[in-house]
Subunit: 337 residues, 2 copies
DNA sequence: GTCTGGCACTCGGTGTTCCCGAGTGCCAAG
DNA sequence: CTTGGCACTCGGGAACACCGAGTGCCAGAC
């Protein structure tokens, strides 16, 4: 009976604080939740919870506020991920359905997520390294320049302009293209380097410099794109929410690809939902923010991650539900295309 | 002597207000600028300037602040665009030099501009409609799906997945591809519809449905992309600047492609520098902001526009210099590739 | 006619003080 | 273990006074 009630109190505090954004006192608690005990009892419980580090008071004689540890306990044991309403699900589907290419999928997803959660949404482009080569194209632009276009099975298209060491006519380019495609069609991107290592040996001697050049650009493209693009949306939602840290810092972090990368959590390999609360966020410039992220990808392989960033004081059940749902739908869409 | 001095006063007011962000009074003016007259005289001039609508006072007994009309006069007649320092020019060059493809150019440009002006930078992707076709590629994905890739002379690459009405083998696809390229190579995008209208008649009867399908997707891609992508950067700079309007509104506007489009001013066809001040901005949600924009593009044809958005109270000479310089450099880069 | 110094007036912003009320901790009784 | 009572704390808002920058106007000087 004892400990159970304390947990109930903690849950009530989190819920009230999230919805009112004001420190919650013992009296308000008994009024809004039927806990069946008096304010005085609640006070005792709160004293214990505070001692254990789950809640804190901003100043003497104010209500209590959950600590990061308190939110953590709430997320882990006191709440259930809230499924989306039917209307929301329909909205997601129709919103993502119309996407016309990969770019479009990502753009739509990030906006959708921002709108759904009323927070800042972040979506990472699918990683090249877990895709396979669908086609490689060499397009002559001028005599000494060709454009390399790399198309993967995830629908991603990369292009690079290559300055050739000498003028090369179209036939030789075509030959090279055929060779490349023969070697690489369906090849996992990770294995591209191995599969083309001997390419210069397979072309006429005169073409070797050109082949080497093309090859080096191709490999470079593979490596560089490894750290992938990340986009975000919903920055306007920041203005409403107030962080303990200035929102200038938050905006700065959002424009730093590298930081965003770390925030989404490149670590976890599964598609599971990850929640980082306050001080758990691996970036000191973002005190007072939490991140809910999940992996997505066709099949069971994770291609990339997406998530939202918001104030520590956020509605975790709802946010987690939205992130999870969107991750699933995007995975579906990608699998279908 | 008379009117000249009033203009000098207006210029001084604008400059002081921009640098201090505080209403400027007659006494402060005489101290910071050697106008050679007493505060009382200035006061008389200010009274006239106010009557003519160039300046205003926030409340009785405070200094004066320029109105939109005042800024306009300042920009048109009282200031000179400030050229960039040698160091800044070098920074621009080295920053843009490393760009590897069009995406990269745009991304780098927008960041550069944001950093240079310490405002929000906005860059529009080059418009397809003023480019020409460099190459069209059809890549078979499965028997019934091909990917259409459109490469333009500006280095832009567009892709679309096409669901075919029937299974089609690679040879027929290759034939179609050859036809398309023969008809469209070097063709201005505007004229693509005309040049391919008769395509279905030029293929074997059995291929007509497929050709029609491909064609419709191609045309659709041309139309849809007509309203182009726009990116922005430097939102963090908003936090510092204070607008008369909440920055929530500004952030919202920034995420609306359509609004941004209008802001950059799709109207003007030349590459000239455009300045819109306060109420001149064609979007009511943005009271208190100004926009400095310019067209860019290889040759003398404007491909798209870029610019910055900031508080009305901005340093116009410096901002205009930066925008102009960046527009020129980007044009160069694009012309070279 | 134009400029200047003087003067009375205005009023926004800041610092001070005071008060209220929500909330707490503790204690003794149920 | 719970509850009602009670004294205490302290942040935040309202009321208030003060200061100083800035103004408009006017009479006199160049």
């Amino acid at each position: 009976m004892v400990d159970d009630r304390k947990l109930a109190v903690l849950r009530a505090i989190v819920e009230d604080y999230v919805s009112t954004n004001e420190p919650v006192g013992s009296k308000a608690l008994t009024e809004r939740h039927s806990l069946g005990v008096s304010p005085a009892t609640i006070r005792n419980d709160m004293a214990v919870l505070e001692e254990q580090g789950y809640i804190t008071q901003p100043h003497t004689s104010a209500g209590r506020v959950p600590t990061d540890k308190g939110y953590r306990l709430f997320v882990d044991r006191l709440s259930q991920i809230k499924p989306l309403s039917a209307a929301e699900k329909r909205a997601i589907e129709s919103f993502l359905q119309g996407a016309v290419d990969l770019d479009d999928v990502v753009t739509r997803t990030v906006r959708l997520l921002a709108q759904l959660t009323r927070q800042v949404a972040v979506v990472q482009y699918p990683t090249l390294s877990s895709s396979t080569v669908r086609h490689i194209e060499l397009v002559p632009l001028t005599e000494r320049r060709v454009m390399l276009v790399l198309i993967t099975n995830t629908g991603r298209v990369d292009q690079r302009v290559i300055e050739l060491p000498e003028a090369v006519d179209e036939n030789r380019i075509a030959h090279l293209r055929a060779l490349l495609n023969a070697s690489l069609d369906g090849c996992d991107l990770n294995k591209v380097p191995d599969n083309v290592a001997d390419l210069p040996d397979r072309v006429p001697a005169e073409d070797r410099p050109v082949a080497a050049m093309v090859l080096s650009v191709l490999l470079e493209a593979l490596v560089e794109r490894h750290d992938e693009k990340i986009v975000f949306a919903g920055a306007a939602n920041l203005a409403a929410a107030d962080f303990s840290v200035g929102l200038r810092e938050v905006l700065e972090a959002l424009e730093e690809q590298v930081v965003l990368m770390r925030l989404l959590g490149e670590t976890s390999d599964s598609k599971a939902l990850t929640v980082r609360i306050g001080s758990e966020v691996p970036y000191t410039g973002l005190r007072g923010t939490s991140i809910v992220a999940a992996g997505y990808g066709s099949g069971d392989k994770q291609l990339a991650r997406l998530g939202v960033l918001g104030p520590t004081r956020m509605d975790y059940p709802v946010t987690m539900g939205a992130v999870r749902a969107v991750a699933r739908y995007v995975s579906q869409i990608l699998a279908a295309s």
